[in-house]
């Protein structure tokens, strides 16, 4: 998991509460706003995890066995991650 459930929930809270505290937005239903915020962060994380799974599978599919956690695995992970994110237009 790229972000723990607690962190996902916290980020949702951070955005919803932060914008309200700074008087940038108002909510007609605070509870619903908080639920929507958290749900959307979860949705984002699910997307990111799909990328993670794809990258891990790409490494696994290599003919030579690259043990997870080895320096080579890490290098490959970063390389394939970059490629996949680029494919999805998510790279800076």
């Amino acid at each position: 998991m790229i972000l723990t459930e607690e962190r996902q929930s916290y980020l949702g809270y951070l955005i919803i509460d932060g914008l309200w505290k700074e008087e940038l937005v108002d909510y007609n239903n605070d509870e619903l706003a908080m639920r929507v915020g958290k749900k959307c962060v979860v949705q984002f994380v699910n997307e990111a995890e799909q990328i993670d799974v794809k990258v891990c599978r790409a490494i696994e599919s290599l003919k030579r066995n690259v043990p997870e956690g080895s320096p080579e695995w890490d290098v490959l992970y970063q390389k394939y991650l970059k490629e996949e994110m680029n494919r999805r237009g998510l790279l800076d």
């Binding site: 949702g12 951070l14 937005v25 007609n28 706003a33 929507v36 984002f44 993670d52």
Partner: protein, 132 residues
């Protein structure tokens, strides 16, 4: 068994180091160590913008939000809020790496950074009230 002992001894070293840290004997300095064995994805600006745009889209779809400022201003501020949260984590990583450098110099050989990193990070985050 010997692995258990080694882990216990590493944990003891962490405890010692943390009390050392509490006494403010470790100075903050720029960290050049980029060691990272955890499989975590660092969120870049584009990803953060994607996350925030999903949140704002969700709020609008549920007709639960009224913008008191231009939407672009709100969007940028929300991105900053998230970015600051990740900066906080990066600073924590740097601090942990510094502590590990220190610990490693005191225990040359037999020091497994990749095992220590998450342990130390979790502990320090708890102390500082940072949600990981």
């Amino acid at each position: 068994m010997s692995e258990d002992r080694s882990e216990k001894s590493q944990l003891n070293s962490v405890k010692t180091l943390l009390s050392f840290k509490e006494k403010s004997l470790i100075q903050e300095r720029e960290c050049v160590c980029v060691f990272k064995k955890e499989k975590t994805m660092r969120l870049g600006n584009k990803q953060i913008r994607r996350m925030v745009s999903l949140v704002l889209k969700g709020l609008k779809e549920h007709e639960v939000v009224t913008f008191k400022q231009e939407e672009e201003i709100v969007f940028n501020r929300a991105c900053e809020l998230v970015l600051n949260n990740f900066k906080e984590e990066r600073n924590l990583d740097q601090e942990v790496n510094l502590m590990m450098d220190d610990l490693e110099s005191k225990n040359p050989g037999g020091f497994e950074r990749y095992k220590m990193f998450p342990l130390l990070k979790k502990r320090l985050a708890k102390q500082k009230g940072i949600i990981l």
